[in-house]
Structures are given as structure tokens and as C-alpha cells.
């Protein structure tokens, strides 16, 4: 038994400043996104509020800027700042939704597979293997393509986020399932689970009340990292033309649109949304990394 455990554990309390800053940054971006309805100067999703005549006005701080549009306007005359706030909201909603859905499915199936083992475990894991045989982006492309063909409304502002969430989550749940399964197997073998089994609690209750709280640590860590990945996947799907409709742009859609203007000197349409996305993903990743290092039992000194 290692006598050095206690000092090292105490050492690990508290997050470094970089993590604090990252968390703050993430909070600011998420806050702006969530409160876009109140904070944004314009509603970029209301077609009647923007005029083509205002298109491609540079940011206010440049020589040709217009004080009405702090970060300039896009190619349709939308206020870029507002579009970014709403876009971040869409991106975060899709990313968050996808992570939530994937985590829910993954945790549920992972618990079942890990707790019961045997055939049901094999079945769930093989399904996961098959799904992992498709790269994320390809599977998402397929799902959204098929959804669009099946439901003509799938490309509309109301439905597209749901389709995108499903398209991303259908691949990502496997990761959660694998992690939760492994953790569940470890927990199930622990004595406290045996103890409640001896008492005779039903499996459902053991899984939900006793095992679930103990396997959520790694799930949270994967979730933070995946949130960033999901936002990026949505952006890439948007680049490939199956993202949000142009009347309700996400950050990814904005970048995709702005990407077409890279050579034309209209740099702000791509730059600001890309910067926001990078900062958001960066912040979430920094926090996620820190969480991972902190909650990874392997990285902690053994008891």
C-alpha cells in the first residue's frame, strides 16, 4: 500500500488559471448564444429584418464600417454579430443535443451490456462495432441524406437540427456505450454491488441507483470533448451541403458561406464565425481535458 497517496491527492484540488479562463470563455459564448434573443441587435432568422442592400458591409472598426453593424454584415445583409449569436445557439443546440442523445443511448445500452453481459452484451457491442465501421461524417451524411429524402421538411429550420442531432448521435453513442460498459463491468464486480445483490434489489434499481452515479465520471469527460467534436461535425456537414438551411444559419453554415469569400477580400464573414467556433471548441476541450485528467482514476495515485 502506498503511503504517498494523501499528499498527492491534496495537491490535485483546484483548477489552473488556464482552465478557469477557458471555462469563463465557454460560459460567455454559451451565454451569448442562449440569450441571443435578447442580446443580439437583430434577429437574423427573420427574413424581413435584413436587406440585401446592406450586404457585405465591413466591421464597424474598419474604415468602411457602419456603426449599425459591429462586426459587419454577411453576403445577405445580415448583421454578422447577430447571425453569429443565433448561429452559436444552433451549433450548441445541435452539439449539445447530439451529445445528450448519444450519451443517453450509450449510457443506457452500456449499463445493460455491462451489467447483464452474455448475449445481450455481445449483441449491443457487435452493433456498436458495425456502426464504428462507418466513419462519423459518412454516417451522418447518409442519415441526413436519407432523412431529407424521406421527409421533405427535413431541411427546414425546425427539422434540420433534429435530423442533424440524430445523424451525429447515431455514431457517437457507441463510445459512451463502450466506456460505460467497461466501467459498469468494473463496478458490478465491486463489493458494494454484490452487497445490494445479496440484499436482492432488482437489476434495474441496482443499475440506476448504485452503478449509474459511479460510471458518470468518464461519461461527463467524453461528453465535453464530444461536444466540441459534434459542433465540428455539424460544421463539416454544413460544408458538404446537408447542414442548416441558409435562412437559419449555424456557425458552421456561416463559415461555409464565408469560405466562399476568402479570396474576395470579404474576410469577416468567415473569420469571425470561425474564430468563435475555434474559441468555443478550444475552451470546451481545455475544460474537458482537465476534467479527464482529474477524473481519470488511472492518473490518480492508487489508494
Amino acid at each position: 500500500m502506498n503511503t504517498l497517496a494523501s499528499p498527492n491527492l491534496i495537491m490535485r484540488i483546484g483548477a489552473p488559471i488556464s482552465v478557469m479562463l477557458a471555462a469563463l470563455l465557454a460560459l460567455v459564448i454559451v451565454g451569448c448564444a442562449l440569450l441571443a434573443g435578447w442580446l443580439a441587435p437583430y434577429d437574423p432568422t427573420d427574413l424581413s429584418t435584413f436587406e440585401l442592400i446592406n450586404a457585405e458591409i465591413p466591421p464597424a472598426f474598419t474604415a468602411d464600417g457602419d456603426s449599425r453593424f459591429l462586426l459587419g454584415t454577411d453576403n445577405q445583409g445580415r448583421d454578422l454579430l447577430s447571425a453569429m449569436m443565433y448561429g452559436a445557439r444552433v451549433s450548441i443546440a445541435i452539439g449539445g443535443g447530439a451529445v445528450l442523445l448519444a450519451a443517453s443511448i450509450g449510457v443506457f445500452l452500456g449499463l445493460i451490456a455491462g451489467y447483464f453481459g452474455g448475449r445481450i452484451d455481445a449483441l449491443i457491442m457487435r452493433i456498436g462495432d458495425v456502426i464504428l465501421s462507418f466513419p462519423t461524417i459518412l454516417l451522418a451524411l447518409l442519415v441526413s441524406g436519407i432523412a431529407r429524402a424521406l421527409f421533405p421538411q427535413a431541411g427546414t429550420a425546425e427539422w434540420a437540427p433534429l435530423i442533424l442531432i440524430c445523424a451525429i448521435a447515431i455514431h457517437e453513442w457507441v463510445q459512451y456505450a463502450r466506456t460505460v460498459r467497461a466501467a459498469t463491468m468494473v463496478e458490478t464486480a465491486k463489493d458494494y454491488v454484490k452487497a445490494v445483490k445479496v440484499i436482492g434489489l432488482p437489476g434495474r434499481r441496482i443499475m440506476l441507483r448504485h452503478i449509474l452515479p459511479n460510471v458518470m465520471g468518464p461519461v461527463l469527460v467524453i461528453a465535453t470533448i464530444n461536444l466540441a467534436a459534434a459542433v465540428l461535425t455539424e460544421a463539416t456537414l454544413s460544408f458538404l451541403g446537408v447542414g442548416m438551411p441558409p435562412t437559419y444559419p449555424s456557425l458552421g453554415t456561416l463559415i461555409r458561406i464565408g469560405n466562399e469569400f476568402v479570396f474576395s477580400g470579404i474576410w469577416w464573414i468567415a473569420l469571425f464565425p470561425a474564430l468563435t467556433l475555434v474559441l468555443l471548441v478550444l475552451a470546451v476541450n481545455v475544460v474537458g481535458d482537465w476534467l479527464r485528467d482529474r477524473f481519470n482514476p488511472k492518473l490518480r495515485v492508487k489508494r
Binding site: R126, D129, V130, L132, S133, F134, P135, T136, I137, L138, L141, L142, G145, I146, A149, L150, A228, A229, L232, A235, T236, F239, L240, G252, I255, R256, N259, V262, F263, A270, A274, L277, V278, L280, V281, L282, N285, V286, D289, R292, D293, N296, K298, L299, V301
Partner: protein
Amino acid sequence: MFKVILSRIGQAALVMLVVSAVSFVMFRYVGDPVASMSRENAPIEEKQALRRSLGLDQSFVVQYGGFLKRTLSGDLGISYRNQRPVTELIAERLPATMELVIVATFLSLALGIPLGVLCALRPSGAAARLVQAVSLIGISTPTFVTGIVLILVFAVTLGWLPSFGRGQVVEIGWWSTGFLTWSGLKSLILPGITLALYQLTLIMRLVRSEMIDVLSTDYIRFAKARGLPMRYIHFRLALRNALMPVITVTGLQIGSLIAFAIVTETVFQWPGMGLLFIQAVSFADIPVMAAYLLFVGLLFVIINTIVDILYAVVDPRLRARSA
């Protein structure tokens, strides 16, 4: 070992069946090639006749049956767009994509492993912190943005590297390679980096965390207690253990690279399978799409099998079990 391969083949069959079903759903829903295949002023009758001749008017079951039968007999059909056998098209594009993926994998391993080790050995050093921060930017920038920025800098502004295509390729049998010419190699750099960036970051971070884990194990402590040189402990002993999961992840990631090659190939006009697929999608060239999916699925299964075998070769514990 034989058992492993056998069970892998079984799994492969399952995967391929699912893939074929998914591919077939695509047949039905992803689009209708008739519009793309007809001239502008084609009358309705002409379009219907075309639809009939493609068998698109038949029932789902009949179409799927026919598709399965043809696929099983090795016939993946003929591209609607190019009117050439799909197998031929895929074979033509395979070298480009594979070389790109090989370069990207090589780059990500060649850079990712040393950087990961660096970060693990000196976790609080300035270099490690810098690498960690830059790596986060690497995974938080969409591929298409990275690609276009690289083109802007290295092709347009500096004029060092070509902005698109494979450059001069050399044909060796049916394989065409860009490795043997100067322009071919130069052309590989930008798309290779673009594609590798994400995986590089992933490998670096994986190596880092695995290395940290391994360094805290008893056998490394025991190695230290035997007074072995630190370099030897880090690079020969610990690294080998830390690389075990890297094998799996690299295997899985090669599949993702093939998929992400869709974006990279579009940005760099890389004449590979991803570009073929994207163009097939916009033409609703169903046989090509289906074949691409089947092929990627197959590739995935093959890679996974190789990874399993590799694992058994590297890890004596598994070797003993499967022998």
C-alpha cells in the same frame, strides 16, 4: 490465429450485410439520377422510359434482391454518370486516396508520437504546454478551413506548393503513385497535412495520457530501481506499452481518414474515392455511392482485422491465447 481470422470474416459478413442494406436504402432515397441523366428538354415519356430501363420503377424487394445478387457475384454495376464499371472507377481512384491516407497516417504517427512523449515526460514544461495548446487549435478547426488557409498561404502567397491535384504520377501496373516524382511528393504535402492534423492531435494526446499511465506502473518503477538509463526506460520500455492502444486507434482512425478525405479531396481536388463519392452524390450516381460504401466498409473490416493480428503480434499475452 486461424480462429481470429475466421471470426473476423464472420463479423465482416455481418458488417457488409448491414452496409449493403444501408447502401440500398440510399438507392431509394438519396436522389433520382433521371433528372441528371436527361437532357434539358426531355419530355416526360423519355424520362419515364429511362427510369424504367434503370429498374427504378420496380418494387423495393425486387430491386434489393437484384442488387444483392449482383453484388454477391462481384458485379457492382455501372456508373450512371460515366457509364463505366464501378469497380474500374474505384480501382482508378483507390491509389490516390490510399496514398493520401498513408501520408496522413505517417505524418500523424511520426509527429504525434514524439510530441505525445514529450508532453508526457515534461508535462509542465513550456514546450509541452505550447504543443498542447496548438494541438487543441488543431482539433477545433474544421478541415475545410484548414485546407483553404494552407492553400492561401503556401500556394498563393508563398507559391511553394501546388494548390490542387496529384502532380505527376507514375503508373505501376494499375496503381498510380505520386511518391516517385518531385511534383507528386510536393502535391501530397498540403492535403496530407490537412488530413493528418486532426489525427495527429488525437494520437499525440493519446500517447501522452497512455505514457503518463505507463510511467506510473510498477514495472517502470522496477525498471528504474534496476538503474536502467532513463532514455531506455522511456523510449524502449514505456513507449512500447503506451503504443498498444495507439495501434487500435490508428486502425480506427484510418477509416475516419478515408471519410474525412471526402472533404480534403474536395478542397484539394484530389482525384480519389472521396471526390468520386461526392460527385456521385450530387449526380445521384447510385451504383458508385453504394460501391463506395461497401468498399469503405470492407476496408474498415480489413483494417480492423489487421489491427487485431498486429495486436496479437505485439502483445505476447494475446499471442499465447490465440495460438
